[in-house]
């Protein structure tokens, strides 16, 4: 089931939580709404679910317009941030709830519930009450309950945010696995960019009620379309300066930096960004790439050793700092604070705005 959202606007009083948003989600796609809290991602999801009534715009499931349809008739499966497992019902009855509401014949309910519980690895827990389950188990019940009704559309509202970090990573790959097996169109809401990048077919980055960019995870990361997306996804070094007279060079805080992709008149202001991992030390660069690289020198202001990688904070000139990361974990290659370090980057990988 494909989903099409056309010029959707949802207001709360004078606040426009979702502004004129249009999206197309393909059948079977895992689509993520990503953004900081208050960006409108949950509001948009709830509009799709039917828990709020948008002021303008249309929502289609396939060819059918559904934005005026009552929530309980939309045929969605939804997983909530705080699980929303019915505390007065057993695990079995929770999962059977939607089947009963759909008047599935009684003999078919049992096998379907069993299958759904097996799928989320909760076999044998049928008679437990929710207060006897852990957070991870509750989330599995919620997922089984939403999927057992074989919904056309699967909606998840920050389903992992109440779990601890390790469980979160496990659950997200399980969710991805289930979604692939069932080939169900899924919309997933999260504020966690790592989660979004790892789980999604495509991502819509939202901010202040509008969609800033839609794309595959690597597109979002490598070719962010504006400063918000660059800043929100991953860590970034921002630079501001003015074009120098020489081709492709920008004067930033007393030094010159090369920026690819064409020059502008001298003196014009320019802002650009370089990812920390784009900076490299000389020995990490393959020979054939060397000619393209542009070199800088910085003094190491801070070293943060994280085991699998090391973060360096470099002072390029007084008042101008840049972060870089190195995955070279050999002890002999570790640098100390105060040392001078020569670093290189590919001007083509600089993101200019």
């Amino acid at each position: 089931m494909s989903i099409r959202i056309v010029k959707l606007t949802k207001r709360f009083g004078s606040l426009e939580a979702v502004k004129d948003v249009s999206l197309e989600i393909n059948t079977g796609e895992f689509f993520t709404l990503l953004g900081p809290s208050g960006c409108g991602k949950t509001t948009l999801l709830r509009s799709i679910a039917g828990f709020n009534q948008p002021e303008a715009g249309e929502i289609y499931f396939g060819d059918k317009r559904i934005d005026k349809t009552s929530a309980h008739k939309r045929g969605i499966g939804m997983v909530f941030q705080n699980y929303a497992v019915f505390p007065h019902l057993t695990v079995y009855d929770n999962v059977a709830y939607g089947l009963k509401a759909r008047r599935v014949p009684a003999p078919e309910i049992g096998p379907k519930v069993e299958k759904a519980l097996q799928m989320v690895r909760l076999g044998g827990m049928e008679d437990r009450l929710p207060n006897q389950l852990s957070g991870g188990q509750l989330q599995r019940v919620a997922i089984a309950r939403a999927l057992v009704i074989e919904p056309q559309v699967f909606l998840m509202d920050e389903p992992l945010s109440n779990l601890d970090a390790k469980l979160r990573v496990e659950m997200r790959s399980e969710i991805r696995e289930l979604q692939r097996q069932m080939k169900i169109t899924t919309i997933y809401v999260t504020h966690d960019q790592e989660e979004a990048l790892s789980i999604s077919d495509r991502i819509a980055v939202m901010n202040l009620g509008v969609v800033e960019q839609v794309g595959k995870p690597w597109e979002i990361y490598n070719t962010p379309v504006n400063r918000f997306v660059v800043g929100f996804i991953g860590t970034t070094n921002f630079f501001e300066g003015e074009w120098a007279s020489q081709e492709g060079l920008v004067k930033v805080g007393g030094i010159l930096m090369k920026v690819g992709g064409g020059s502008r008149p001298k003196g014009e202001q320019v802002a650009f960004a370089i990812r920390p991992e784009a900076f490299k030390v000389a020995e990490q660069i393959p020979a054939e790439e060397r000619p393209r690289m542009f070199g800088l020198e910085g003094k190491i202001a801070k070293v943060e050793y994280l085991g699998f990688m090391t973060k360096y904070d470099l002072e390029l000139s007084p008042g101008l700092n840049a972060k870089m990361v190195s995955y070279d974990v050999l002890p002999r290659n570790l640098r100390k604070e105060g040392e001078l370090l020569e670093i290189f980057y590919d001007p083509q990988r600089v993101l200019v705005y």
């Binding site: 679910a49 309980h72 008739k73 045929g75 505390p87 709830y97 939607g98 509401a101």
Partner: protein, 546 residues
């Protein structure tokens, strides 16, 4: 569409309240500014209020008694609350159950029993006279304060208990780590955090004391408070100033309203107790201290419960005139059942009808207050506060006057009694439903809807089921308190629709003490059994007392 069901319900509840409560009360206000004959505007009633000592004294009696009772309740309730919250005293669940009993039982039974013990011809008074000790008269202030403090201290006790039980432990630990000793920590940290709870409890004591009708009527006829004075003015045929009943009512409403607003204003800036991480540790006392502390607590509980015990015992004694003889007899009960079987039936009938109606209106109201927020629900929130600040007697006067004529005549029927009970108890049901709903995650409803169940069916299958236990215990508590209602019943009852409380009250003032004792016992039993049921089956539920 889907919200129209609730919009309609909101409007309906509005109409019920506006028509059956607000308009009658407004007519009370307009009545206080009108001349008796022509209904012209006048300030005479208010000038009379200031001019005649008998009127303004009733005002000062109300205020003084209310304040002293509140202070007394703090002096008893706070130490007790602290001890039960923080020390390992013996039998905490029992202490809490016993402490709620006085709030549920009619205060004027206590007044009656204390007279039998300490009154002019009282059992203890006489005994002390034989050994040469004279105790002063308990009629008037001393008796009222004794009754109010011993019956109402629990408001402060229970609030303090939950306050001290929910102060975030890490705040106290932070204070200790910064070098404050335990006493200083208590004074500087724990106490200020609990103070809003204590004052809320004290306000409830103050309001209950000044809205009380039975106690001053039984024990302090010489120092009538505003409620009694309004009742006397209203019922007396020969009153010099008939409009005064309205004026006195208005003055009382003004006091209660003002104290509530002051409290709300104070609390709005001091909502400290929110997200306690760790509950404070209970201090393990040495066995000697533990027994001493427990003894103090049980001594207080026994003093507060003695009146009910006395009434219970007396009901099984032989009566000759107003004097009891220490001999077992069922005479009082036989007499009560023979002569007053109807009031017993009336009491249970009215309480049951009013409770059912209160639940039917109160639960959806609670739902609207929490889940259908709008300007209308905010207005509803304010409206359902009103019954808390209007004394039963005053509401009775307003209803009987307003429904005496006009489109709907209810005066003289049982329905007006039921109406007044519904107005007074429905807000309680609505509040307790709302507080349950606040704890229920709205996404439970949404989960059900997303699974294909319509909103109305969801309310029944999920929300209502989860609220069930709370609703049942709230309904039982309402039923129990309706049974012991006297203040509005005394105004609204008519021949044929008398209740147990009315019979009991008349028994007390006409020295028919056997009948009063028998009815007291029936009421005590009718209160305790449902309460035990609630404690046994719903002990997990936090049932707010107000």
């Amino acid at each position: 569409m889907k919200s129209s069901f609730w919009s309609l319900t909101t409007i309906l509840i509005f109409i019920v309240f506006v028509f059956f409560m607000i308009i009658p009360i407004i007519s009370l206000f307009t009545g206080s500014f009108q001349t008796e004959e022509g209904g012209r505007f006048t300030l005479d009633n208010f000038t009379n209020f200031v001019k005649y000592p008998s009127y303004w004294r009733s005002f000062s009696h109300s205020i003084i008694i209310g304040l002293i009772s509140a202070i007394g309740a703090i002096l008893v309730g706070v130490p007790l609350g602290f001890m039960v919250a923080r020390w390992n005293v013996i039998g905490k669940p029992l202490i809490i159950t016993l402490s709620t009993l006085p709030l549920m039982l009619p205060t004027f039974i206590a007044a009656f029993a204390w007279i039998i013990l300490l009154g002019r011809g009282g059992i203890i008074t006489k005994y002390l006279e034989t050994v040469g000790i004279q105790i002063g008269s308990i009629y008037g202030y001393p008796g009222m304060i004794l009754v109010f403090v011993s019956q109402l201290y629990s408001y402060v006790f229970l609030m303090t208990l939950s306050g001290f039980g929910s102060v975030d432990e890490s705040l106290e630990e932070a204070s200790r780590s910064l070098g404050a000793n335990p006493i200083k920590t208590f004074i500087k940290v724990s106490f200020p955090l609990v103070l809003p709870s204590i004052l809320s409890g004290a306000l409830l004591t103050f309001m209950s004391a000044i809205e009380n009708f039975g106690v001053p009527m039984v024990i302090a006829q010489q120092t009538p408070n505003l409620v009694v004075k309004a009742y006397v003015e209203f019922t007396s045929e020969v009153s010099k100033h008939p409009g005064m009943a309205y004026t006195l009512s208005v003055v009382l409403i003004f006091i209660t309203m003002a104290s509530l607003i002051i409290q709300r204003y104070y609390l709005s800036k001091r909502n400290f107790i929110q997200a306690a991480r760790g509950k404070p540790a209970v201090k393990q006392l040495t066995p000697g201290k533990r027994i001493a502390a427990s003894a103090v607590i049980y001594a207080v509980l026994i003093i507060t419960l003695i009146p009910f015990f006395v009434a219970f015992v007396l009901s099984f004694m032989e009566m000759r005139g107003p004097v009891f003889y220490p001999k077992f007899s069922l005479q009082s009960y036989i007499y009560a059942f023979e002569r007053s079987a109807r009031p017993i039936f009336n009491t249970y009938f009215l309480a049951t009808v009013a409770t059912v109606v209160s639940v039917l209106i109160g639960v959806p109201t609670g739902y609207i207050l929490t889940r259908r927020k709008s300007i209308y629900s905010n207005m509803l929130d304010i409206i359902i506060m009103l019954p808390f600040v209007i004394a039963g007697t005053i509401l009775g006067i307003a209803l009987i006057t307003f429904f005496n004529s006009g489109w709907i005549v209810l005066t003289g029927t049982w329905m007006i009694l039921a109406l007044s009970y519904v107005i007074r108890k429905m807000p309680f049901i609505a509040r307790s439903s709302a507080s349950i709903l606040y704890q229920l995650d709205p996404s439970l409803d949404e989960a059900s809807i997303s699974l294909g169940v319509s909103p109305m069916k969801t309310f029944y299958k999920v929300t209502f089921r989860l609220m069930m236990a709370g609703i049942v215990s709230g309904a039982i508590l309402s039923w129990v308190t309706i049974i012991s209602e006297l203040s509005s019943t005394i105004v609204l009852q008519t021949p044929g629709w008398s209740t147990m409380t009315v019979e009991m009250y008349q028994g007390i003032i006409s020295d028919d003490l056997g009948k009063a004792a028998a009815f007291s016992s029936i009421m005590i039993i009718s209160t305790i059994i449902p309460l035990l049921f609630v404690t046994k089956y719903f002990s997990k539920e936090q049932t707010p007392l107000l």
